[in-house]
Symmetry: C2
Subunit: 371 residues, 2 copies
């Protein structure tokens, strides 16, 4: 038996509200090892190629006695999230060495799948019925792009962020019409940048915002008609100038949601996809939205969704449509690469401290940075 190094990002300590601390809540460990020839018990062995830090992961790092929509991660085990892996060995029917797969996987170099120790034991738990067992987002086969697009897109536009944008627009707002106006908050994020582009492709007038001037430039390069830095502009006044809004794509909740509601057109639709502004806050610290009476006054609809609900139905369409748009240059995707799993924590925290410049991707296997 020979042991191979298997570095990982450990979920070391349950955080309270507030920013995560590297080295305390999340710890990079270089010393673990794995026997790559160990029995697979009917599963398969994967090598991690890319990992995708995503905002929703923050809420899974919590005291398991706090109920929310997602199951928590398991303290003392590696962080788990969306990633791209390659199969090294398999005892499972339909899965063979060399296959590429995308889905939930632990933040470590090698994993015997399905992962067991990092999986939250949901079955016997007394959780509310609306709880989503995130560990069911198991690995699915994905095609080798063979040079038509870059591998790293699987952790951005062709991964959860792109899928969230696509699924949200297709399932919640299929009737969008050219010439209508949408506002997209967090417009430079993985999800937001895809929403901006899909809406431009549909002929909409797109207003989008981000937290820095360079991100605003990026949004402009994606075709947004109006782009602004929400940290230096008054959101409500800017939307009043360029509105009213037929649609608002909400990635952040709180103050921006209030400003958007204030500027919605009659019969407007708000698609709520995330709450970036709140993941680090205790419930009582969240911003209180005061203008909800406008929902009936303007006959608004607010619709929440999570990507996985409509995925089985929409994934085939997404895979038929979006890689082609990428190849034709009709959709662009910008990633900020963090090469090496030892950069994983920095990449994850960049989502919250404003330091991310584009969708962060952790490149675990260096070869996939440039291909």
């Amino acid at each position: 038996m020979s042991l191979t190094p298997n570095p990982r990002v450990l979920y070391a300590k349950v955080p309270g509200p507030g920013p995560l601390v590297a080295g305390e809540h999340l710890v990079y460990e270089s010393t673990p090892t794995i026997d790559l020839d160990a029995p697979l018990n009917g599963g398969f062995l994967t090598k991690t190629l890319l990992l995708s830090p995503e905002p929703f992961m923050r809420e899974r790092l919590r005291d398991p006695s706090i109920f929310t929509y997602s199951t928590p991660m398991v303290v003392g085990q590696p962080v788990v999230g969306f990633g791209l892996v390659q199969v090294l060995r398999s005892e499972k029917e339909g899965v063979k060495a060399g296959d590429y797969m995308y889905g939930f996987t632990p933040w470590e170099h090698y994993t015997v799948q399905p992962y067991v120790d990092a999986r939250f034991d949901f079955a016997g738990a007394n959780y509310p019925p609306y709880t989503f067992d995130m560990d069911t987002l198991v690995l699915q086969p994905v095609p080798d792009p063979q040079g038509t697009f870059r591998w790293v897109h699987f952790a951005s536009v062709l991964g959860t962020p792109g899928l969230s944008a696509y699924v949200g627009l297709e399932s919640v707002a299929p009737d969008m019409k050219a010439g209508q106006t949408i506002y997209v908050s967090s417009g430079a994020s993985g999800v937001g940048s895809m929403v901006v582009q899909l809406c431009k492709n549909r002929g909409l007038r797109v207003i989008a915002s981000a937290s820095s001037d360079s991100k605003v430039e990026y949004i402009r390069s994606l075709g947004a008609d109006v782009a602004f830095n929400y940290t230096t502009c008054c959101v409500a006044a800017t939307l009043a100038e360029h509105g009213p809004l037929d649609y608002y794509w909400d990635n952040v909740c709180g103050k921006q949601l209030e400003a958007a509601i204030q500027n919605m057109a009659l019969n407007g639709l708000i698609i709520t996809c995330g709450a970036m502004s709140e993941y680090n806050l205790a419930p009582e610290e969240c911003y209180g939205v005061k203008n909800l009476s406008l929902i009936f006054k303007r006959r608004l609809r607010i619709q929440g969704f999570i990507m996985s609900d409509a995925l089985p139905e929409l994934l085939p369409r997404f895979m038929a449509e979006v890689p082609a748009l990428l190849a034709q240059g009709k959709i662009k995707s910008q990633e900020q690469l963090y090469v090496g799993l030892d950069k994983g924590i920095e990449a994850f925290l960049s989502l919250y401290d404003g330091s991310s410049k584009a969708k962060p991707v952790v490149v675990v296997d260096e070869a996939y940075a440039c291909m």
Copy 2:
């Protein structure tokens, strides 16, 4: 020319936020007169029988430079709202003496229709496109019930409140299923009491609340499975005990909306119909709702509506269905009668100061109190 007394309730002074003051903002005047033989200029003369004080009217009493969804009332003119009238004389085709009509009418004994002076001049105004010109809710013919139900129902279950409940349920929540759970705030109000009963008729489990123990008793008598006094119970805890909620019918906004959101089931639907808790408040004084991230986490839908939007389509079904349910005793309606227009202001203010015991109706023509 002989003059007939024509008492009225005058909108005397534009209020700010806060409770309306009788004798200051609203003034009962007994001295105006009308010549009942005056020319009608192609219109028709009506006698007011019943008037329906309704929560939405508060917001129309405002500085016209404040934009909201409705046009304002005209200061120096009578209050305008829904009412039942009878035609005395007519020069208008299709309208004849003796006809009963329901719709917007000034709070006075006699009116030459269409009313002109009390109509807000909206045409030339620079109002936002979502503004609804309320004075377009003109009088429509209604049938003489001929003893099958009481006339006063036209100002409650067969008027705007009942119509709002019916239109909201039919247009926003047509897929309700027996056994599902709904929470109705302001359950003893005109709208709320109708929602409770229509939902019971559809086989739903109904939770409802009101502001006094006697109203809670009334809600129970309508068939609600759980009824509670929200001024003495914790709403969130009560809903947690009896939820989760598949539906919430929101008449009040603010704190109760927050408590309901906290207790919604996955894919739940919130129908927003009004904002009773806020009509007397300045925007910055309204309660801030902090848990809106649950909209995406539980994939909720929040849908606002106003009754008039779907009225043309649904009024015929309503008139075919609801009077029959009333006659069969499958729907009950309790009104608190204020006999005499001089009681009009007291009736209106009872909506806001908690003194209303049931849907207030101003009986202008005494004969219609008992028929």
